[in-house]
């Protein structure tokens, strides 16, 4: 029996806005601040152990509302991605975001679900699947894969950096190889697709 724990103060994106094309993308992790409290949704996989999935509260509602009211899309903008793929959040947002992110271990979950808005004209679903160790893009028009696979790694690495308890230089004393390799790979990945 799948257990549901409601009303925990957890955080995820309401959606991610991706703008641009041909290898140049701006990324906007967006959320609506008054809807920050999110909930755990635990689903029972077929023949697999119970997986934890992080979804925003009333995700369906968000997407429907956002689609109906294009003008309201930008009110939750959190930051911008620079050339190196690092996400620079707005300062005020950042100060609220980091404590929220640190309250739970994002990287111990099985799946993170992310609705993505492309150029204000198309919605797709994406998942960071930790269990299968890959980033998945589900596009009903079969188009947006390259941008998703370019953008989500940047987002993932930024989340990792934001939520680590130690600065990178301190962490390097106990995971040196991991960190250097990860950095290189992230840069490679971001620059080599699309």
């Amino acid at each position: 029996m799948a257990e549901r724990r409601d009303h925990q103060l957890l955080w995820t994106f309401d959606f991610v806005e991706v703008r641009g094309s041909k290898g140049e993308f701006d990324v906007y992790p967006c959320w609506l601040p008054h809807q920050w409290p999110c909930q755990w949704h635990q689903g029972q996989g077929q023949g697999q152990s119970c997986q934890e999935t992080l979804v925003g509260r009333s995700l369906l509602q968000h997407v429907l509302l956002a689609e109906a009211d294009q003008g309201g899309l930008r009110q939750g903008q959190a930051g911008q991605v620079d050339q190196k793929g690092n996400i620079r959040p707005n300062a005020s947002v950042h100060s609220m975001l980091i404590p929220c992110l640190r309250k739970f271990d994002l990287f111990s979950k099985d799946v993170i679900l992310i609705p993505i808005n492309h150029n204000n004209s198309h919605w797709t679903a994406a998942a960071i699947n930790f269990r299968r160790k890959r980033i998945e893009s589900y596009d009903s028009m079969g188009m947006a894969r390259s941008s998703v696979h370019k953008v989500l790694p940047a987002l993932l690495f930024s989340l990792w950096d934001w939520t680590q308890p130690f600065p990178r230089r301190c962490a390097s004393t106990w995971t040196t190889n991991t960190f250097t390799r990860r950095r290189n790979r992230s840069i490679l990945r971001i620059g080599s697709t699309g």
Binding site: H41, G43, Q44, G45, Q46, Q48, Q51, T53, V55, S58, L59, L60, Q61, V63, L64, E67, D105, F107, S108, V111, L113, P115, H122, W123, T124, A125, A127, N129, F130, R132, K133, R134, I135, E136, S137, Y138, D139, S140, M141, G142, R145, H149, P153, L156, F157, W160, T175, T178, R181, R182, R185, S186, R189, T193
Partner: protein, 74 residues
């Protein structure tokens, strides 16, 4: 536990062959919602809906939002 990204997967996902495709220009939001809902319930390879189900799924989502719960029937 220290999770690392050494497993960084190449672009290898069960798509787009197994991803249901829309046949018009305005159903992407419904498809997206259904993808996410199916993923949250553990589906990964077979979504089990297509373009012909969209009118039904729209009405179903309205019901689910209005009643603030998910339906169990397929």
């Amino acid at each position: 536990m220290c999770r690392t990204f050494e497993w960084w997967a190449p672009i290898s996902s069960p798509q787009p062959q197994t991803t249901p495709q829309q046949e018009n220009g305005y159903d992407c939001g419904v498809f997206t919602c259904q993808f996410l809902q199916a993923l949250s319930q553990g589906e990964e390879d077979d979504f089990g809906f297509s373009q012909v189900d969209m009118p039904y799924l729209r009405r179903r989502m309205i019901w689910e939002i209005g009643n603030a719960k998910l339906r169990d029937d397929p």
